[in-house]
Subunit: 235 residues, 2 copies
């Protein structure tokens, strides 16, 4: 049964997160090709930083594990800087034993280059353009959700097609408590933008968030987590 | 014969660039893999922006063709934003007929992905990680230097090994008037740093610049260009 919650109701459900610890990942990761080149993506980190700020504001201890961004650390937030997906996983695992809520908001590289060149690849030394052999990176969200004592685990799905269906598959496959799905193909929204719209999905609920600032969306998402978290742990 | 010019002497050689037009490329380029992922490099654009500022300050009209950076446009500089190497080449070619000095400071992607995916590549739809087939990008510097009426053309060589030898080969192969070689393997210098050291090389001269701010280095490079440019065109 799907409950259509209205965003207007969310602020009433605000909870005090005092004594709880969030780990939030944010930004892109970068996977080296050689010492100067890398593979990355268009994530600015704004959504993850806004979530860290909102959770800290709601009283939580917040550890922000961040890929390379140009953003200042929100007040009261403890930030750990990483570059690659593997570094991000390590940083998350170190903090995981004391984590109550994990939000995987980083746009992690699903793949990394199989063999990183130790010196800059020079085109004049190659008759043919090099083929980049990729290997799959560890899945941070899945590893957190399937850890021994998993925290309340929230994922993000940035999709360019079949938004809800792709997000629901990800929720189920990775055994998440919640997933925030947004369509990054819309111009002016999502990646690198200050605004966003999204659907918050869980096993049995769905909440549509209209276009709003990432600041306001972060507050709505932390509220949505609170509603479920405090219900779930009270059972 | 190699003339070892000292940086202390450079300011005396300052020339008035009034009436002359510079095109300066700066920053990285980005080559899409799919709508969210791309290949790029660690260039911050700082050196190119400092050069644009120094040339404008010395009286030149400056067109800055810039890849994605986080930097403000220097005062008096006309900026054209691009993302890919091909876009950068197009922007340069449009401005080229009125160009007196071209400085290729951008860290352009030598390669782009052969087939850009129109939708986000989803790892669960691929049993095997994808192979990225790359193709060579056009060589902006070479095309400028071999154009019908080439401007005074200055290249940059960011190397991780065999600095001077690699830079001299690039100078000759691309028929440049000057090349600025810097070692990007040194921690705290070059890419994304505020300081740099470099060797300015031409067919018959060599000038070592010690570690200095990119602002000061830009002034030294514009001075070095002036010395050669006004000698050459006076012949």
């Amino acid at each position: 049964e799907i409950v259509q919650a209205l965003i207007k109701k969310a602020p009433e459900a605000k909870q005090d997160w005092q004594g709880k610890t969030f780990i939030i990942t944010a930004g892109p990761t970068r996977e080296a090709i050689d010492p100067v080149r890398y593979i990355s993506n268009h994530s600015s980190g704004k959504m993850g930083y806004a979530l860290a700020e909102a959770a800290a504001h709601a009283g939580a201890k917040v550890i922000l594990v961040s890929g390379p961004t140009q953003l200042p650390t929100p007040t009261g937030v403890q930030r750990v800087d990483v570059e690659t997906t593997e570094q991000m996983l390590n940083a998350v695992q170190q903090q995981l034993p004391n984590c109550d809520v994990f939000i995987g908001c980083a746009a992690v590289s699903d793949y990394r280059v199989a063999e990183v060149a130790s010196q800059k690849i020079k085109k004049e030394q190659n008759n043919q353009p090099p083929q980049l052999k990729l290997v799959q990176n560890p899945d941070i969200l899945q590893q957190v959700a399937s850890s021994e004592k998993p925290p309340f685990t929230v994922g993000f799905a940035a999709e360019t097609e079949n938004l809800k269906a792709n997000a629901l598959r990800k929720l189920e496959r990775k055994q998440l408590q919640m997933i925030v799905a947004n369509d990054v193909s819309q111009v002016g929204l999502g990646f690198n933008s200050d605004s966003n719209n999204a659907i918050i999905l869980s096993k049995d609920s769905e909440q549509s968030l209209p276009t709003m600032s990432k600041h306001d969306m972060a507050i709505a998402i932390i509220d949505a987590i609170a509603k479920r978290y405090f219900n779930t742990t009270a059972n």
